[in-house]
Amino acid sequence: MKKFIVLISLLGLPLATWACAVFPIVHNYYMMNVINTEQTEPESPDFQTSLASYWQAYTGVKEGFFDDDCALLIEAAKLKKDAEMLAYVRHIAKYQHICERRKEQWDYPSKDELALQKAQIQLMRKAALNYSGQRLAAQYTLLLMRSYLLDANAKGILVAWTMRASRLPTSIYKEMCRNIYAYALLNSGRREEALAIYVSQGDAASIQWATKSFEDYDGIRSFYHENPNSPALRWLVQNFVNNMQEAVDDEPYMEPGDKENAFKREASNFVAFAERVVRDGKSYEPALWKTASAMISYLNGDLKKAEEKSRMAMTMSGTLRERDNARAIHLLTVTALMREGQPFDADFVAKELRFLDGKCNPKSFELNYYGRVLDRIMTQNIIGYYAKRHNINMAVASRGMCERFHSPADDDEFQYSPGNARYLIYEEYFCDLDSMTADQLRDYMAFINKKHYDDALEAYILTKNSFRDANYFNDLLGTKLIAEGRFAEAIPVLKKVPLDYVDHQGISFYMVRRDYKKPRWLVKQPVDDEWDDYGERSSEDIPLTSNQKIAFCEEMNSLEQRYKLANNATRSELAMQLAVRYYQASCYGDCWYLTHYDKLYGDSARAWEKDYARQAMAYLDVAKQDKRLRQEALYARAFVQNSLFLNGFWVTYDVGEDYPLTISDEAWRLAYDELLAYIRKNPTQVADYVTKCDVVRKEMRLAGMAYSR
């Protein structure tokens, strides 16, 4: 698949029409998680996946079962001549429709509609009560309970559960009935029983609803005083610690006065209380409380205490999930100590990372809890550890490993690559690679391909970060060498990259259409790089016949050699040619793809690369000494200085719109003054391209010069 780059900068453009905007990865995932394994936000339990498998098997279709009044299910039942199922799914369609209409909305139902709803609910109930078959017994029981739910009839639900649903064999339908039963319990004042069900189902949204107003420290205490083993405590403790984490994570963005927020103030009270709960021995789950206490110590920066507490928590009683949670937080504390310079056991850290890794879901873009812990440990502690010690190779390799965790395993549909886009904030690995010098990258390439590792942690990270595509790295290295002006070195590296590989890069679209020999200040080379509604370019694909980067390097190499040997007669001409090429290949030029993979608004020379635009200015300074080239060189200098000041204000370039300019920079002003002085001195020799310049025209008018050509 051809990977295009999108020439849109997130920094300068409104994204009103680009709803699917790019958001940076967050690495502040919640670390306390003893219920609700998959979600980062409180959600209802996922009954849909199991239901979907059932309907997939029945219809042979992958999705859309409940769309359009269950038309798909009704059609499938009709095709199969399955009257029993047809009757059931018709009720489901009606149930769905009623649920939709019961949502708060401005359009209130009419008398007829309400009467129809009432009749439909009664029919549902009657059908459910009269169903005597075996095959859909669970489904009809659920329908019965739903019919009571629509009437907010808690008593009906309680009876239906006791008499029917509780006797069903285990199934997704029984679980759904149980969830409705919990609702009835909650509305009958039996909150503890309801919470026990919600907790067992991981129904965080309902737990949150049932425990609202109890989410603070006082709420936790009151639940504990009533029942030290209340099922709600798992949620409340988890929620409290995660809120505390959020408060700490947000601290850098807070106003000074807001830093002492409520959570932080309550945290020390909570720690004392959690420790007392552990000592009292009334809770069956001391691991939960000890881990919570450890995590708050961690968040308060008391890493040693946090490590000690979490280590103890792992040995305490609790659910398996709670003990795993303690283990995950223990690794978080161990790696934080490691980052801060404490001695550590690399074998142990690698083993624990493998434990988390083993519990990740390799097939999904969504990280589960263990993946989220691993991400935080790697990002905050392990990358931090290597970065502090200036071990660039391991810091970057760790970043690559993290990014790999955010991507599913390679298959026919998805092949992982770090990409080449600086604007895609989630391509953090590429951003790290992009910030390396050519020599650092060469060293990194050798490092990740080494056969012997220094320790188990290095072995683990380098094995997990398995991306080694030689074409990718050689192309990147060759491009960096160009950007550093090391043309001769770049040629053999770029020659290792097959043309087909380059042709499949997004930049090939521009490469095949643009010429770096054309002076940017005299010739525009806009391309139609618009995308249509189907994600296709509106311009046709033209295959590359050669890698322009190689041709560019060969020519630059030759020109620079000749320039060094040039005499007065030839030097200025060569300087002009070099200036044209340097500018075109800079981040401001038309041929930016020679040194970059994307073009960003507000771009400028990267710290490690040769400043191509400044180099162009230096050569133009030479060229302007030549009488024959003076006018163009002065004009070009004003042009280049303009783009340096405007920092690559190119947005409207390819769509052919001009933008008005006003000189407001000193260097730019000097460049224009020099050009204007030339015009004043040689009014009859002014070239057409100069007369067309709106800035020149304006300046001439301001200077009171008659100007009519």
Partner: protein, 309 residues
Amino acid sequence: MRPKHQLKWLLMLLLAVGCQRQNTPRTTLRSAYYWSTEWRSEPRVMEQTKGLDRLYLRFFDVVLDRNGEPMPNATLRFSAKLPRKVEVVPVVFIVNDVMKNVKNTDELAGKVLRRILQICETHDIEVKEVQIDCDWTLTSRRNYRAFLSQLRRLAAAKQLALSATIRLHQLSQPVPPVDKGVLMMYNTGDFTDLRCEHPILDLRDVVPYLKYLSGYRLPLSPAYPLFSYRLLFRNGHYKGVLHADNDLPVLPGDSVIERKVSMGEVLKVKQTIEEIRPDLKRETIIYDFSPNHIANYKPRDYEEIYRSH
């Protein structure tokens, strides 16, 4: 001000306003609010409602949804028939945030009225008046007035009167563009203050506003409280209202304090304000007849308020 001086001031005020008596109406309408999310067949409610002339029935609230758009919320569920002979005044409570942020007040007025009328049609309710309740502030006043003006125009086109609730402190503000106001004679004190023993109604809290009453150029009907609530205090600090036993965490050492309006206070206030504005005798409204509150009072309590003048 010391209590002695307060009473002296009150006495002077009563004498002064005694000279400005307005026409006394011959009959008094018996009215009540029903502020709940479900109208159901509760025997006490049904019995008590039968004797009413007018029932102010909360239909729905208007809140901001996640996108910041006004949306109806907590719509009243009709689980029983309404008594036939009682005039129903639909009430819509609009949270102040809506009025602060609403972009198109005309559109909102249209939506609110359409929904009220649809609810009435669906449930066979004949109406002559609709009412808006909003605890507006200075920042929302402009929008609120624009909203009421448009709603009044639309309501008038349907031969409907528009009324609005008036809180005591709003008496000092310009009169809203409505046909009638209901003066809320409750929640006069600061219920979050442990020292405030009569937050529901205390004549001393009412007195400072009485000077605006006679000059307030809007027909008014007073609404008096007959309810109680339980408040939770921890270390002397207010923690919340306990609507049910497990609403809030209650810890050892906490104080749960019931604040109940005293019948004597209601009668005293009623007499005081009716002296100032005899037209207030036209209608007596009690807040409220919802099952939670009505269970705590006897029929004779309601009767006493309706009968007293």
